[in-house]
Point group: C2
Chain length 793, copies 2
């Protein structure tokens, strides 16, 4: 544990690793691993959250109480019995114990290092003259955690040690749960039956994998499968099982299980000891056996398999890798951002009915990684559109999926996202043929082209306009909990009106070739909407958030709380509704009311009590989530909007502020390995909380972040004719370089920027390019592009 004024965090760009040297200064600091079925988030102290899709999210490791079925909670709180993965170490001579990584013993004065890698999370802990190295990786497909412990005896005496992997299983069922030691497999095996009462649920429950296992490659000296017996009166921080000579070999028979084994070792001076431990979920014992055989078939297989898992292929193939000289920023964009995007691609927010707006926006980012996935998913979404043009609130990913929770509430914005995602996809991949691809509707046999689906989606948005040409807010828009401004069908949303306007403009361009008249209508209507917004929703210094059923504008200067919202401003820029004065005024209002050192808040001041004509939003905790946090999804819209307004320096500052970097990650209480869905906003009397991360890795932010980086900051955007180059790099950058993978080609690009009154100049493999589009790029070919930028003097 370092002193509080010494840095406890550093990055290693070569290894793509982040290091934290204190278990107490950023206790929630976590890394996450994933494969197509499983997500494992582990924090520096050893608490873990594992979710397996089968196909609904489930967990094999829980706390010792029946937990509510809910999405992952923001700012998740930890406590001694939170599920975790621990190794107790006992010196059999002195009877001293400590634990890895840090919980549950919490030994003081330990040398500690927590390392987050792309495919691997590691700890190095030095204590009692033992150097312990612990790491975890995830199987490439299954819910199998591969833990490897290495202990080196630093002393010059022989040490007699007991090592006790102790992994939480938790309370899973009042119907049936138990755990025992299986002598065939030398494994702790726990099974449970998910509680149900209706006959119709039997088939679902039957299909669930329900066999949690933990084993090493060798026989343990003793074991315990019973949490309460293992702890005894000593408690989880000093369990009787560990302080006794041997574990009690107790089964859990309807009691809360745990998986603990004792492995004894005599370790000569400087000798090392390895213990691999596998923990996870299987269908049955037969599958546990298969897993054990697969991993422990021969001495080398574990290392081999793990190294295969660690190849980090996704980073090598990322669409952009950057070298700006700002190593933390470079590392985030080149390593952690593609990882987080790929996680979204693979696990789709750990649900089987992702909200359609998230599903579509995530595809903006996924499109930079993987064309086919995006194409398939766009067509999937359209196949769930009804003939009236409405996309559903959630996209069902499989046949048994159903719309749950928030997706049972209709939101008015869903269709907005279709043209935005389509445009990003077409730009990157030039697959205009998709517009003529035919897809059926959910409620009938009729198949129409994607262009026609898009057109109907717009007609549906148009049908939601009131006589003033403002969009009704109904039970909510992008902001789900803004649910009580419009339940009577009269309240309108300024943001949604502007979003509809922008969607119509994009659509007009996309369908121009197919239906020029309709395209013209849409474009004209977008102008009308913009005018209506300016007439009814401009509050003098900024745009309101909407007008309630009772006709009262909100998100306006006369409100004491929720005075100003971010989205209406940035989307007015996107929709082209602002004149120069309005842009300046609204930007000034944002900077005056919403800007914090950790990013831009979604609204301010946060609501502190229920406002019944705004809704559930105002009941959320002040400064958290939609109620005035730095909600990064909204912040990135704002940054994208800034780029459209050619505010490169401001936009870049926003991109940087969104990351948890060395200088402030203790305030954010998060490492720089992901962008969370929010940081807490600045709220009166809660100043100390400003910037605190939600720790949630699911967010619509990153797709737009990627887009901002690629298309705006570095200005490397796809175009029908090639790669459109239009950078907006900060004015203080002199030379940077990036590698861009685009339509199968690889382009190494060097940017230079110097003062001169000259237009940008592009040089491809030594030849000057006419205009700003690099044409004729071939697949599987490398290019060298020089981008010479000039700052007016």
């Amino acid at each position: 544990m370092g002193q509080d004024d010494h840095p406890c965090y550093h990055i290693d760009s070569d290894m793509h690793q982040l290091h934290l040297t204190s278990p107490t200064r950023i206790p929630g600091a976590s890394g996450y691993l994933y494969n197509p079925s499983t997500m494992l988030q582990v924090n520096c102290r050893g608490f873990a959250n594992a979710i397996v899709m089968q196909p609904e999210p489930s967990s094999y490791s829980s706390s010792p109480v029946l937990e509510a079925t809910t999405f992952i909670q923001p700012e998740k709180q930890h406590f001694a019995h939170h599920p975790g993965r621990f190794f107790y170490i006992k010196d059999e001579t002195s009877n001293e114990i400590f634990s890895l990584p840090y919980e549950p013993v919490r030994q003081k004065n330990v040398e500690f290092k927590f390392t987050v890698g792309v495919d691997c999370i590691e700890w190095q802990v030095q204590y009692m003259q033992l150097n312990c190295h612990l790491k975890v990786t995830l199987d490439s497909e299954l819910a199998v955690e591969v833990w490897q412990l290495n202990i080196e005896n630093l002393s010059d005496k022989e040490r007699k040690l007991s090592v006790y992997p102790a992994f939480s299983i938790g309370y899973h069922s009042w119907m049936n749960q138990s755990a025992h030691f299986d002598a065939d497999l030398d494994a702790i095996i726990a099974t449970s039956i998910r509680p149900y009462q209706k006959l119709a649920d039997y088939d679902k429950v039957k299909a669930l994998a329900n066999t949690c296992f933990m084993f090493s490659d060798r026989q343990p000296q003793s074991w315990s499968a019973n949490l309460s017996e293992f702890e005894g009166e000593g408690g989880i921080h000093n369990p009787d099982g560990v302080t006794s000579e041997h574990l009690g070999c107790e089964q859990a028979q309807y009691e809360t299980p745990i998986a603990v084994q004792q492995h004894q070792v005599n370790l000569g001076p400087k000798q090392q000891y390895q213990l691999p431990v596998l923990f996870g979920l299987a269908k049955d014992k037969a599958q546990v056996k298969d897993i054990k055989q697969f991993y422990f078939a021969d001495d080398s297989s574990l290392e081999k398999l793990v190294s295969v898992n660690c190849r980090s292929a996704r980073i090598k193939n990322a669409p952009i890798q950057i070298s700006t000289g700002d190593s933390e920023f470079d590392e985030f964009v080149s390593t952690w951002l593609p990882k987080q995007m790929d996680y979204h691609r693979q696990l789709q927010r750990l649900t089987t009915d992702p909200q359609t707006r998230n599903f579509l926006q995530d595809l903006i980012g996924v499109g930079f990684l993987d064309q086919k996935t995006v194409r398939d998913r766009i067509l999937l979404a359209l196949s769930q559109q009804t003939r009236n043009g409405a996309l559903p609130d959630g996209i069902l990913l499989n046949e048994s999926a159903e719309l749950k929770y928030i997706n049972q509430v209709p939101h008015q914005d869903i269709n907005v996202w279709l043209p935005i995602t389509l445009q990003a996809y077409l730009d990157e991949h030039n697959d205009y043929a998709i517009l003529e691809h035919k897809v059926p509707f959910a409620d009938g046999e009729e198949s129409v082209t994607v262009a026609q689906h898009l057109q109907r989606a717009m007609e549906y948005l148009i049908s939601n306009l009131d006589q003033r040409k403002l969009s009704l807010i109904g039970l909510g828009d992008w902001c789900d909990p803004l649910n009580m401004a419009g339940p009577e069908g009269k309240g309108i949303s300024t943001w949604l009106s502007l979003a509809t306007s922008w969607a119509l403009q994009i659509t007009a361009k996309l369908i121009e070739d197919f239906d020029p008249e309709k395209a013209h209508q849409f474009a004209a209507l977008s102008v009308t909407i913009n005018e209506a917004v300016n007439q009814h929703c401009w509050d003098g210094q900024w745009y309101s958030r909407g007008i309630t059923d009772a006709g009262k504008p909100f998100g306006v200067s006369e409100d004491e709380e929720g005075k100003i919202f971010l989205n209406p401003q940035s989307w007015a820029w996107l929709a082209g509704a602002v004149d120069d004065n309005q842009f300046r005024d609204s930007l000034a209002a944002i900077e005056g009311h919403l800007l914090t050192p950790f990013g831009t808040m979604m609204l301010a001041p946060a609501y502190t009590h229920m406002r019944e004509d705004v809704g559930r939003l105002t009941q959320k905790f002040p400064g958290c989530a939609e109620n005035g946090s730095v909600y990064n999804h909204a912040s990135i819209f704002y940054i994208y909007g800034l780029y459209q307004q050619n505010q490169g320096d401001l936009a870049f500052s926003g991109l940087k502020q969104m990351l948890s970097l060395s200088h402030d990650n203790e305030s954010r209480q998060q490492l720089g390995n992901f962008i969370p869905n929010y940081y807490r906003g600045k709220v009166d009397n809660l100043e100390a909380y400003a910037g605190r991360s939600s720790q949630l890795i699911n967010t619509g932010t990153i797709a737009w972040y990627y887009r901002c980086i690629i298309e705006e900051l570095f200005g490397l955007k796809g175009h029908k004719e090639g790669l459109l180059v239009s950078p907006k790099i900060p004015t203080d950058w002199k030379s940077v370089s990036v590698i861009r993978r685009f339509r199968g080609a690889t382009i190494r690009i060097d940017y230079t920027q110097e003062p001169a009154n000259k237009p940008m100049q592009l040089i491809l493999d030594g030849k000057v390019v006419e205009g700003n589009i690099v044409k004729g790029l071939q697949q599987d070919t490398e290019y060298q592009l020089q981008v010479k930028l000039y700052l007016p003097v």
Copy 2:
């Protein structure tokens, strides 16, 4: 802590208290308190479960994780962060700490006494030369726990102490939760908003009391409202807040709350210190203020109020008080049984849609306490019957209640319970007028008499008979999880056929005066059903449990698991289906297969894996709940059946076995203050678990237990003409006495029993009674009755 071979449990009949002198030998030992809104169950170590009806069950004190909404779980497991009520005590001179009652510090070598009273739970803990007395009572109406701590300095030195009440609040909401110290009230105040997403739920959530409070009558030196900050790195067993000089005065701002205060005191030799602490749930701060003023208006009020709460009125007015010389049995019947019954009367199993079969059966017991409640509830139930005769699966107790969970599954036995309950009510209260009271149906305006409702209920049961005159089991009967024998509409239930037969017999008698022809039909049909059961369901030594959809009998000798079920045997006795040989055989089978030292199992051997033609029952953990536990509700049917077969000695042995008494309460892991819904059954390889209590105080057992005690054991049953005396006391009893309250009269009864070939003799106030009915009893009058019993020689 006593040694394991010393008794750790004793009873005090004068004080109506149970004492436990070890915190570790029966760690789950608990007492419960209740009022019309709230139930508080606290165990000897300080873990607590509090439920408030508003009107659905809710809790103000939870664990630090969002808990699933479920009924109270059997064999609830505890862990360090389970909700509890603790007082840390620190000696400021030595800095030593310990905690009351025992958790979370778990000091060793403490003098410990846990005392369960009727209206009060207490602890006496002696440690560090401090004698600490702690007690808790519940407000008579509100969810307010009144804790009183008294510390006596046993040493001859002045002691400087800090006392820290530390009460769990827990994680309640991802929307909004916080806690702070309110300086006006010197109170920790925590609020939260129950998470919801749909607009329609807003009104429900808004109506919930959401203000959890904790205060004393004085200002604390310091406080903490933040669980994680309070614990620091020390952990809950040794929190930084307590080991520091003062608590950190930390709010919980969306973090997990706790309520902790520091109260410092200098205590001279032999001096005492009192600290009252109130903890509970209120609508808002204003109500917290009211509560504080009410309790702390003047110096005496707390004691006064608490003593009012402690009057234990319900015991003084119990329908029977007994003196048999067996003090544990006497104390259970006279004190703990009426308490548990009254708890059921007041809180109706902590639900707003009690299962109709429970609702009706509970009334059998409630009828001995309170006529009006039973009459009202019978009429309420009938008003929810539909015109086709079907009673719903649950009775809705208020307008917003709905049928939830298991009540959404139709069960075929519901109507059986109506005549059984009616008959018990009529016997006790002679209110035959109720049969002519008119009640509407749920699905129409038509009002018919109770007798006609009853008749329709029987017609509905008759409509559920197959062509053999056996009752279809459908998706289950009394045994809810026996849900896969009859989903195709062909499988039958032996038990339900017999229950139908018995219900028809009872009904025939009840409606004889109104519709003699129908009464005759019903009686004749019951004979036919009995014959059909004997033809199709007698397995040679005992009755089967039923026949599956596929025509396969189950609960039969050729089954390897679930060979024999208890209910079909005892109900064959009740329905009069058995001849003498069948009675002897079935009794022998029960004794051979089902009897354990802890009572009679519901089935044996317990199922160890799913049997798809029996159902969910077979997936429950072997030996638990319906899957082969000593399920007391079934056991008490059996005992009632034994009494009908004049097996007084066997029946009494069953009554005794059902209680957790001195000689075996360490096996049962429960004190003798309630009958739990089950004890674990005897299962191969799980012998050590046999007898372990579920700790659940909600059970249909106690109504029947009361009935057995009053009507059968002591034979004091109501009759149209008076009190029918027909005792079935054990043959080894020589003289016992009871007080019976009956229709407003109080009768002191002395029983004597000696060998002689003479009929029973009754002497009322010195006069010999003709026959066995005591007639002409007047309200508000006391009588002396001698019952002279003779055993044939």
